[in-house]
């Protein structure tokens, strides 16, 4: 007899989207309470992005892949695999939730699986959708060979490759130095690590960063290990390209000297952008965060958006992997409370969460969004990589169409490409606001559109066998 047959007939159908640290801990909490959640995840194996696993048959150890975080990665992977193997949960792998059915979660989730479309019934929904890199465009960033910092890390971890021969990493945030150190250790040739955050900002954030002294120290040591490769307070000017991709990056040092670093690959990223499209479709409200320079979902301390919808992890608050584990437990606890079931006491986790938030605030202050650099982009710069919409076109559209994100989108096609604005919307908001002389918060948030991933029509009409 399978676990699903033994579950009570009235058992609530709970779907968790995302099998990173938040989703795994949420699943664990529900399983401990005797429930059998369905976990939908785009990966072949659970772990999420930061604890992403290579395909079966790869040889490197967890220590080689995850360094100081190897223990945490291993215990999450083992925990999930155990729950999946014993039937304590249902793992819907390599699958994307494209839409939250019309009429909210009650209508079910539309999921694209390798075998076609599936509609998952869903009484309660926990979204642990994580984050992507937060991107600022640069002239030349549409060239092949320019990647996100996250991509550089995934390539190394999940495939054992570097995305170029001579690499420049640029942007800001914890990932910038981490990826640089990991790539160098693996034998890649790093030409420069260019941080747009000035050292003064990093120093000013130190008191908040000391909420997690070990992490703060680790970050400083990584920057020290990079030595002269690491430059803070730079302004990025342009990626020079030929038909095969980058040949160099031009930048201005903190002292105002123009520099040029030759390379054939550039990795870009300014910390993270919460992945919130499904939350929007599930009815969540958003608030503009000046600290994070982006719209973030509104939820209570537990991650509760409404009775039946919960958020956890970087898709709610950008706290990193440890914070995501805590948030995952809290969201599942809220779900149990709302079901009237025995739930663990969240007090200790709520306290831990507060410490994570202090640290995250320090990180956000230390490595800010490069607003001035984006404002100064020349008109010819491609802002939308999908469809080649330029800064000039965007400024013109905002000038005659009005400074509202959704209007500029429908008139100027920014945010309409295949990535659905994931990698251009924050820069676009900055440019529209600059044109109108207002703040990015005032131009509004792009409405979420289903499907949140493009789906081939063939797959969409073909229903997966039940």
């Amino acid at each position: 007899m399978t676990a699903i047959e033994t579950a009570r007939p009235t058992a609530p159908r709970i779907v968790i989207v995302g099998a990173g640290p938040a989703g795994i801990r949420a699943a664990e909490t529900l399983v401990k309470a005797g429930l059998r959640p369905v976990v939908v995840d785009e990966g072949a194996r659970a772990g999420g992005q930061i604890y992403r696993r290579p395909p079966a048959g790869f040889q490197r150890s967890a220590e080689q892949l995850y360094g100081s975080e190897a223990g945490k990665a291993r215990s999450l992977h083992d925990l999930f695999d155990r729950m999946a193997a014993t039937g304590a949960l249902e793992h819907v792998a390599q699958s994307s939730v494209l839409a939250v059915g019309g009429g909210g979660k009650d209508a079910g989730l539309h999921v694209l699986t390798p075998d076609g479309r599936r509609v998952l019934p869903c009484d309660r929904l926990i979204l642990a959708t994580g984050a992507t890199d937060r991107l600022a465009p640069l002239p030349g960033w549409q060239a092949p060979g320019v990647y996100s910092l996250g991509a550089a890390q995934i390539a190394l971890k999940a495939q054992g490759v570097a995305l170029g021969r001579r690499i420049v990493l640029a942007g800001s945030g914890p990932l910038l130095t981490l990826v640089a150190v990991q790539l160098r250790k693996a034998g890649a040739d790093i030409a420069a690590v260019l941080d747009t955050a000035p050292l003064t900002r990093q120093a000013a954030a130190l008191p908040a960063l000391l909420a997690r002294p070990v992490f703060a120290l680790r970050g400083m040591m990584m920057r020290a290990r990079l030595g002269r490769l690491y430059r803070s307070g730079v302004t990025l000017q342009e990626i020079e390209t030929d038909e095969n991709g980058p040949v160099a990056i031009r930048w201005t040092s903190a002292a105002g000297r123009v520099q040029r670093s030759e390379c054939d690959m550039v990795g870009l990223g300014w910390h993270l952008r919460a992945e919130t499209q499904l939350a929007g479709l599930a009815g969540c409200r958003f608030e503009y965060s000046e600290l994070w320079s982006q719209w973030l979902p509104q939820a209570d301390r537990m991650g509760r958006v409404a009775d039946g919808v919960y958020l956890a992890g970087d898709g709610l608050r950008i706290l990193g992997a440890d914070g995501a584990e805590i948030a995952g437990r809290l969201a599942a606890t809220a779900c149990l409370q709302d079901l009237g079931l025995a739930a663990p006491d969240p007090a200790a986790d709520l306290q831990r969460l507060a410490r994570m938030e202090r640290f995250a605030t320090g990180i956000a202050r230390a490595f800010p969004w490069p607003a001035a650099q984006v404002q100064a982009l020349p008109d010819a710069t491609v802002i939308c990589r999908c469809e080649g919409v330029t800064a000039g076109h965007l400024r013109q559209t905002a000038a005659y169409g009005g400074a509202e994100a959704n209007r500029v989108k429908s008139l100027g096609r920014i945010g309409m490409g295949r990535c659905q604005g994931r990698f251009c919307q924050i820069a676009a908001a900055e440019l529209i606001a600059g044109q109108a002389g207002c703040k990015p918060a005032e131009i509004g948030r792009l409405r979420d559109q289903a499907p949140v991933r493009p789906a081939p029509v063939g797959a969409w009409v073909q229903d997966a066998p039940p």
Binding site: E42, T132, I154, A158, C386, R453, P454
Partner: protein, 101 residues
């Protein structure tokens, strides 16, 4: 096994079983466990040409979020290269097939 016009360099896990697939009609090698993106970019500088520009495209996020990495097959639907494992005998194209309307 890194080719001169390859984009990526292999740093680890090079002891895996080799496999063969076709890229623009020529027989090329990859390793079992490679994504289509890794396999193609170990043999070529790009996955396809941009629809709205002249440059090649080689993926951007590697996590299924940007959709920059779609690639054509000789037969059958396009595939998202960063999240699809390469398989023996695949027939991939970095140019739009001519029959495509």
């Amino acid at each position: 096994m890194t080719r001169p016009d390859a984009r990526i360099t292999r740093l680890a896990e090079t002891g895996r079983t080799p496999l063969w697939f076709r890229l623009d009609g020529r027989e090329v090698a990859a390793l079992a466990g490679d994504s289509v993106l890794t396999a193609v970019l170990a043999n070529a500088p790009a996955l396809r040409l941009a629809e709205f520009g002249t440059e090649g495209r080689a993926g951007f996020c590697l996590m299924g979020a940007c959709q920059d990495c779609w690639i054509w097959q000789e037969n059958g639907p396009r595939i998202r290269a960063c999240s699809t494992p390469v398989a023996e005998g695949m027939r991939l194209l970095t140019r739009t097939p001519e029959a495509w309307p």
